[in-house]
């Protein structure tokens, strides 16, 4: 059977775009190996000093641990909220579903900077009441991140629910299962993959969140992106290049593993 394939001109243009997309990611590799204290190309010898400074400078480690803590808490909160909401939508198909889902997706479509101002307002208001849960606290950041990630988690879980066969649930219902049993023993095991993906995506989004974080932290809750931002704005520190290389390698590995897994799943 003949197929319509891109011609040589299309391929050439696509290669140019691919280079444009990959170039800045490759560019950080030589910079990370420079022996200089400034952001320059290495001339002659290479050095791992900037990788060493990531381990030796306690600020990096502290930020990494803080980002992990915030990511885990905010991802757990988003996933639980998104899961219960989506189960409600799918099992009961209430009226106004479209409007309610639209409302939940707002933080995803509103310009991030406006969400940032909004969450800044929220956390500074809370700061007046409580000192460990508000502006520039890790719990405040975790909550703000949940607001930003919960629409993505909801979309993923709703999509995996939409692929589920309703007759499974009808059968369980007909056999007398309660709402709780239907949700936990019939529906949830069937959308496991979607739930795990939603949790992972929420974690990743929180882990790299910077737009909102900049507005709601100042000196205490310095997440990893916030620390990178400080290093980028003031005096560019090549340790950021070393960190970037590590993050890029992790991303490529995770994507490779994921594509192997999805290929196996679809192969079955």
């Amino acid at each position: 059977m003949p197929t319509y394939r891109p011609g040589p001109v299309s391929l050439a243009l696509a290669v140019l775009v691919a280079l444009f997309l990959l170039l800045p990611l490759l560019a950080v590799v030589p910079v990370s190996l420079t022996p200089s204290r400034m952001l320059t190309m290495p001339t002659g010898e290479l050095s791992l000093r900037h990788y060493r400074s990531l381990i030796e400078d306690p600020r990096w480690l502290e930020s990494i641990l803080l980002s992990i803590r915030i990511g885990v808490v905010s991802s757990a909160l988003s996933t639980v909220l998104a899961l219960t909401f989506s189960l409600g939508v799918w099992m009961f198909q209430p009226r106004f579903t479209a409007a309610l889902v639209g409302f939940v997706l707002l933080p995803m479509v509103v310009p991030p900077v406006v969400s940032a101002v909004t969450l800044y307002f929220l956390l500074t208001s809370i700061s007046g009441i409580s000192s460990f849960f508000g502006y520039d606290t890790w719990l405040g950041v975790a909550m703000a991140h949940s607001v930003m990630t919960v629409p993505f988690a909801t979309v993923l879980i709703l999509v995996s629910l939409s692929q589920l066969d309703r007759r499974i649930d009808l059968a369980a219902r007909g056999l007398g299962a309660s709402v709780w049993e239907r949700a936990t023993r019939v529906i949830m095991p069937n959308i496991k993959f979607g739930i795990v993906t939603a949790a992972l995506l929420s974690f990743v989004l929180s882990w790299e969140e910077i737009g909102v974080t900049l507005f709601i932290t100042s000196v205490n809750a310095i997440t990893l992106p916030r620390l990178m931002w400080m290093g980028l704005r003031d005096n560019i520190d090549p340790a950021i290049a070393a960190l970037s290389v590590i993050l890029i390698i992790i991303t490529v590995l995770v994507l490779a593993v994921r594509s192997v897994i999805t290929r196996q799943r679809s192969g079955r």
Binding site: P6, V28, M38, L119, L214
Partner: protein, 277 residues
């Protein structure tokens, strides 16, 4: 069907936590921001009047619209080129194109902006290389200006522009393309008169997403613009944290939301949300 009353209760119980969370942590504080825009520093429409008359604010709005328009054209064109191969290429080409789209997509905006700094700055890769081959004697200024901002933002937005295009190209009936080729139409002509018009909804969706995203962009312009080509989002940040003028920052935010809302409404008149994914 059993008891609709318990059904309604169940739905309410399951959906309440998230709705309550977002009302308290998002809708309510947003109304607070709206209130700021009308009450700070003095009650009234003063801040909105300032928006219309302040030269700095006006020039930032115009620059933002201009950069967003250029970035949209660049990103959609580039995304189109790579999506054609991702959707219609041979299996190997598809895997490679997917890799080039998804790897940058998953890498944080900071790392990507930093990569451009490493490439474009005065002592960056491009200037070092051009000087070493003797092509230029003084480094070219490629960052801390609009050029750097446009390059960095386009790089960020290309993967987002790809998805609506890919969905349009996947739903396109291949037999129409083969028929055009079979009837003697050249590759170029088939592409421009059959392929492109049939992916129109994807192009509109992709352009709208890119444009809307560019309007509220903060990180990339702040890093690659180096404070010299300030866009709306950075202006909001500066008004709230540097020259504390919360009222003006809040008013710009409100105008931005209204503007983006109007654009989205326009978008959904032409494209169904399902076609965007």
């Amino acid at each position: 069907m059993r008891g609709t009353l318990s059904d309604r209760m169940g739905a309410a119980l399951l959906m309440a936590p998230l709705l309550l969370f977002l009302v308290l942590a998002y809708a309510w504080p947003f109304l607070g921001v709206v209130k700021w825009s009308f009450t700070l520093p003095t009650p009234g429409l003063g801040q909105y009047h300032a928006l219309l008359t302040d030269d700095l604010v006006q020039s930032v709005f115009i620059r933002t619209l201009r950069i967003a328009a250029i970035v949209t054209v660049v990103s959609v064109t580039a995304a189109y080129a790579i999506t054609v191969v991702w959707v219609r290429g041979s299996p190997v080409q598809r895997v490679l194109a997917e890799f080039c789209i998804l790897v940058p997509f998953w890498i944080s905006v900071l790392t990507r902006a930093f990569g451009w700094v490493a490439l474009l700055s005065n002592r960056g890769l491009i200037n070092t290389w051009l000087q070493s081959i003797g092509f230029i004697s003084e480094p070219l200024t490629l960052v801390r200006n609009e050029f750097g901002v446009i390059v960095g933002m386009s790089h960020f937005l290309i993967p987002f522009a790809v998805f609506p295009l890919a969905s349009a190209m996947r739903s396109l009936d291949e037999r129409v393309l083969l028929a055009a080729r079979g009837l003697g139409s050249s590759r170029m002509r088939t592409f421009w008169t059959v392929f492109v018009p049939m992916t129109r909804s994807g192009i509109i969706g992709s352009a709208m997403i890119t444009f809307v995203f560019s309007l509220g962009f903060f990180v990339t312009p702040a890093i690659l613009g180096g404070g010299r080509s300030v866009m709306i989002a950075e202006l909001i940040y500066l008004r709230i944290f540097q020259s504390p003028d919360w009222g003006l920052g809040a008013a710009i935010s409100v105008v931005l939301v209204v503007f983006v809302g109007a654009l989205m409404a326009l978008l959904f008149r032409y494209v169904k949300p399902k076609q965007l994914v």
